[in-house]
């Protein structure tokens, strides 16, 4: 188990009811975090156009997650 802080944005934050939370997860990759927090962020698509960052760096879904990391889950963006 790893202690991971997960941050939710926009629709994900509204669904989770919190902007961030620290969880104990069996997660090796960013994708694992996304899957295991699915009931929290509420995304029902495989990944859609979601993006992920670890410790403020954009990463691929296969990026490794370490004890104490902060994982940021971004729903599909809509700037402009």
């Amino acid at each position: 188990m790893k202690r991971v802080t997960v941050k939710y944005f926009a629709m994900f934050r509204e669904h989770a009811g919190v902007a961030e939370e620290t969880l104990q997860l069996e997660a090796d990759t960013a994708m694992d975090v996304f899957e295991q927090t699915r009931p929290r962020h509420g995304c029902r698509e495989p990944l859609g156009h979601c993006k992920v960052a670890i410790n403020d760096r954009m990463v691929d879904w296969s990026a490794p997650v370490a004890e104490g990391d902060t994982v940021l889950l971004f729903p599909p963006v809509a700037g402009g």
């Binding site: 669904h15 156009h49 960052a53 403020d56 954009m58 971004f74 729903p75 700037g79």
Partner: protein
Amino acid sequence: MFRIKSTAIDVEALRAGLGNPAAGALCTFEGLVRNENEGHDVLKLEYEAYEPLAVTEGEQVIAEARDRFGVLAAVCEHRTGLLEIGECAVWVGVIAPHRDEAFRACRYVIDEIKHRLPIWKKEYYANGDSGWVNCERCAEHGKHEHD
């Protein structure tokens, strides 16, 4: 230069900051809040950004525009918070010796900003509903019945 702003974008100040005697062209784009989207009457918009990464990625887009098109300078500001109809949500300005590279770089910046930056847009509709643009289809619950 890329910046996130929680207050009104000062278009005149941005434009004034792009003064350069080598510039033969200034191309600007203003993204405005529109009163309609996909058949729904929109009353206002709310933009949310994750500023640390939005700024990093925005600066990267600006650098790419300079490298690709050889323009003299490019700037962009993007709003956050609640915006009313007609307000400026995003502004892009590019100066270049000639118009062609100014047009192309300006188009590149706004297109990349829209697709790459962690910025989200919530629409508030005349019927009282609201919805996150591009997000609703991946939501677990159809809590906003505006489709």
